[in-house]
Amino acid sequence: MTFSPELEARFAKMLQSYPPGRTRSAVVPMLLYGQDEVGYVSQELVEEVARRCGVTPLQVDEVIGYYSMLHRARLGKYHVQVCTNIACQALGGEQLYEHASRTLGLGNKDVSPDGLISLEEVECMGACSWAPAIQINYDFHHLVTPERFDRLMESLRDGSYGRKAS
């Protein structure tokens, strides 16, 4: 399996950044960057990371099972993560998640049929001061009300997301 030249360069550098015999330390970052490029952690990616880090595919799977931000199934183009942990919960995070689930017609970790949006209920993202918070791919959105949420989803659908401040 080969990656883009940029990622290959990144991986090459990464494998050099740990002390000798500790290449398995690169498993987590390789999976994260690999996931971004492939779209999800495919079996092929697992085997490739295992081979490059000198571990068994099972050992890579153990890591994936442990970290919730590594996904074995393909996600939507926009992965919408709604926090329902304590601070967000106190400020309506749960209602926001329910609203999201109802309006999008998606359950936890479901992907919309067009592959555009996937929804996930997540634990604390460290944005408690601006609760309730959601994250779309790597971008935070703070103080999200159901109305604001709907506008955000609309911008995902009409392609305007990211082109103007939300």
Binding site: G21, T56, L58, Q59, E62, G65, Y66
Partner: protein
């Protein structure tokens, strides 16, 4: 050695070597600190928190399994605080552990059950409903019940470290964490079952044993596995004359608790419905079951008549029968029939090695040596497949003592993963050895383990190479089958008597070897004991009277005139000698109606022919062996009698014999095949890994082939 460290446990002043773990120091003094995850010989885990102890001047309780003793340390292992902690840990473990002990296979020998009984926590403060996960089957052998699992990681470690397979891991986390197999929903591994036996609870159970019995209903009989030549001790759980399971949880014998799939599960051949249970006599082209009296009388009459007119008679012995049986069988051929036409399927050229090493002491390595040697070289054997115990010993040695392991093999082997692997096409081993010379000579000692490809002159060349290194070298000539070494030691060879003395010493000429007997058109009678030579060639003497003793109607038995139903090794007493020359005792477990041991068959036949074969009882024959067979004379009877292993010392003087390397036929039995017995083991044949392939390992790192370009070695990790 560094000065011992002084410390106090439960008010008792003690000392131990620096670095000793608290849990072991306490154990030495007879103080048991409970633990689940700590396991002797495996990496430290500190996962279960059962071994918490109070260490003075340390604010929190410490885990005894990873804390080394320190000077002046004052430890309490049974203070109220410690007791409360243990009770608390057990309460945590039981929050999701089902209370299904009455139907759990582990009930009665469960470590969690024992701990709760001792320290527990009979009542729980948890009222939440338990998280149920359905039981999973990962292979015909391995079943996993996640709710019972206490996540001690023992199975993960024994599989990864002990077996070098790494087929088990931990998936998910927190309350959802569970053991996962390497192929998603199933296992692809050695199927050795070590994970099942090492499991302290009933989370991992075996397909052969589950729901069949309670542990206390079985009789536990320690005997020696009848499959490969490594001679592992296996404890048979026998109930009502049937073997229900095999394991070695008392860790006795040369193998400790190691067993491969054959030792642990391939006992089912013993109860195969195709087992012969009555003598068969050919009458009008058909087999007819007859009584033992008729079968013995028929054979005795035929052989007596043959003997009277000096007709050509031969014996092909077995690689699985006991030393006593082999010894008496060759006596029958030589003393009763007056011929040295006796041989066995030779799976390695041990006699040549013995001759080459003549006059040296300590030149043959024992099973224990493989675990303690500083370095070892495997030549032309896929050790993990063909000699699983020796491979296990080497891996443990590398892990515990940092032994250097080299492997010179035609294909990738598991030893490559932790040692230096070099590829060598058959016949080019010595070219590769020459390139390793410098590294090998830098070792302080070595054991050479060589497969059947090294035979005849190559053995002499190998010993020469060993001598040229200038360091002490010991040798192991790798053989297959449980008593190949015993067959050779006991004189199942046409020119050698027991103890490798030449047949001329008793006034006989060297007899015919296996191939000669099978092809000689003038052979009049042949007795084949526990061997199946007609599977690969037909009998030259088409009219020869053929007598076969075996467990099953093999290709050879089908051609027989009389077939004696023989007992398996699990059904008899006696001794066997493993590939390293360790002599161990078989103990009778189950019994199959109608069968007899080969010792009894030989004795009865001799009596029927009015010949005197001397002792008839196993113990008496063994005493005669100890009196008369070189190498066996000083065997400590007590050690063997109590289930231990004692090494023979057969290296004396030159061995006079005709080297016949072409008779050496490697069996290529791997982990999932075992000659005739393997064919009749439904368990072995039912595994997806079966029959397995030599020199293949999916996890092995790529190595550049020798002979196909540049030579490159996989370096020590």
């Amino acid at each position: 050695m560094a000065d011992p460290v002084k410390f106090t446990i439960d008010g008792r002043p003690m000392q131990a070597a620096p670095g000793t773990l608290l849990i072991n120091a306490a154990k030495e003094a007879g103080i048991a600190i409970p633990s689940f995850c700590y396991y002797d010989g495996l990496a430290l885990q500190a996962a279960c928190r059962m071994c918490l102890v109070e260490v003075e001047k340390t604010p929190k309780l410490q885990v005894a399994c990873t804390t080394p003793v320190a000077e002046g340390m004052v430890v309490q292992t049974d203070s109220p605080q410690v007791r409360q902690a243990r009770k608390g840990m057990l309460e945590f473990l039981l929050t999701n552990h089902p209370l299904d002990c009455p139907v759990c296979d582990k009930g009665g020998e469960c470590e969690l059950q024992d701990m709760v009984f001792r320290y527990g926590a009979g009542e729980s403060r948890y009222v939440e409903s338990k998280l149920h996960v359905d039981e999973k089957q990962w292979s015909p052998i391995v079943f996993y019940d996640a709710p019972r699992c206490i996540l001690c990681y023992r199975c993960v470690r024994i599989c990864g470290e002990g077996l070098g397979v790494g087929a088990l891991g931990i998936g998910n986390r927190g309350a959802a964490a569970e053991i996962v197999p390497n192929r998603g929903d199933h296992l692809e591994c050695d199927e050795c079952g070590a994970c099942i036996d090492i499991c302290p609870v009933g989370a991992l159970t075996s397909g052969t044993y589950r729901y069949k019995t309670r542990p206390w209903e079985m009789e536990h009989i320690g005997t020696i596995c009848t499959h490969c030549s490594n001679g592992c001790k296996t404890t048979l759980g026998v109930r009502n004359g049937n073997i229900i399971r095999a394991n070695n949880r008392d860790r006795s014998g040369v193998n400790g608790e190691f067993l491969c799939v054959k030792g642990r599960y391939a006992f089912d051949f013993n109860e195969n419905p195709e087992r012969l249970t009555a003598p068969l006599l050919r009458a009008g082209g058909e087999f007819k079951p007859v009584s033992w009296a008729i079968a013995l009388a028929t054979v005795a009459k035929k052989l007596s008549e043959l003997k009277a007119r000096h007709g050509k008679f031969g014996v092909i012995g077995s690689n699985r029968t006991t030393n006593e049986e082999n010894y008496q069988l060759q006596k029958f051929a030589r003393l009763v029939m007056g011929t040295s036409n006796i041989d066995h399927h030779r799976t390695g050229d041990f006699a040549t090695l013995l001759d080459t090493l003549s006059g040296r002491a300590n030149a043959l390595a024992t099973t224990a040596d493989v675990y303690t040697t500083k370095a070892a070289l495997v030549i032309h054997s896929d050790l993990a497949q063909e000699h699983p115990l020796l491979a296990f010993q080497l891996r443990a040695n590398s892990r515990h003592h940092k032994a250097h392991v080299y492997a010179v093999t035609p294909g990738p082997v598991r030893e490559d993963n932790y040692g230096t692997g070099v590829r060598a096409d058959p016949g080019r081993e010595f070219e590769v050895l020459a390139t390793l010379r410098e590294k090998l000579a830098a070792e302080t000692e070595l054991i050479f383990l060589f497969g059947a490809a090294i035979k005849g002159a190559a053995i002499r060349q190998l010993v020469e190479f060993g001598d040229s290194l200038g360091i002490p070298v010991k040798y192991i000539c790798l053989l297959d089958y449980s008593n190949s070494r015993g067959a050779s030691d006991m004189g199942l060879l046409p020119d050698l008597l027991p103890g490798y003395r030449h047949v001329s010493e008793i006034g006989l000429d060297p007899g015919m070897d296996c191939d000669q007997m099978l092809s000689d058109p003038n052979l009049e009678a042949l007795w084949v004991v526990g061997s199946n030579p007609l599977a690969r060639q037909s009998l030259g003497a088409t009219n020869a009277f053929l007598v076969v003793s075996d467990l099953f109607l093999t290709e050879t038995a089908r051609r027989a005139d009389v077939v004696f139903p023989a007992m398996s090794a699990y059904e008899k007493n006696g001794t066997v000698t493993n590939v390293c020359g360790d002599v161990q005792k078989l103990s009778r477990g189950p019994k199959t109606m109608g069968t007899k041991s080969d010792l009894d068959i030989v004795a009865l036949l001799a009596r029927e022919m009015r010949a005197d074969l001397g002792p008839t009882k196993v113990d008496d024959v063994f005493q005669e062996i100890r009196r008369t067979v070189r190498g066996y004379e000083n065997l400590p009877f007590g050690v063997i009698e109590t289930g231990g292993a004692a090494a023979t010392a057969p290296v004396h003087g030159p061995v006079r014999f005709e080297s016949r390397p072409e008779l050496i036929r490697p069996t290529a039995n791997g982990l999932f095949t075992s000659g005739t017995l393997g064919r009749f083991s439904g368990m072995l044949n039912g595994l997806i890994e079966s029959p397995g392939a030599l020199y293949r390992d999916p996890h092995v790192r790529p190595v550049i082939e020798f002979g196909s370009g540049q030579l490159e070695m996989v370096q020590d990790k």
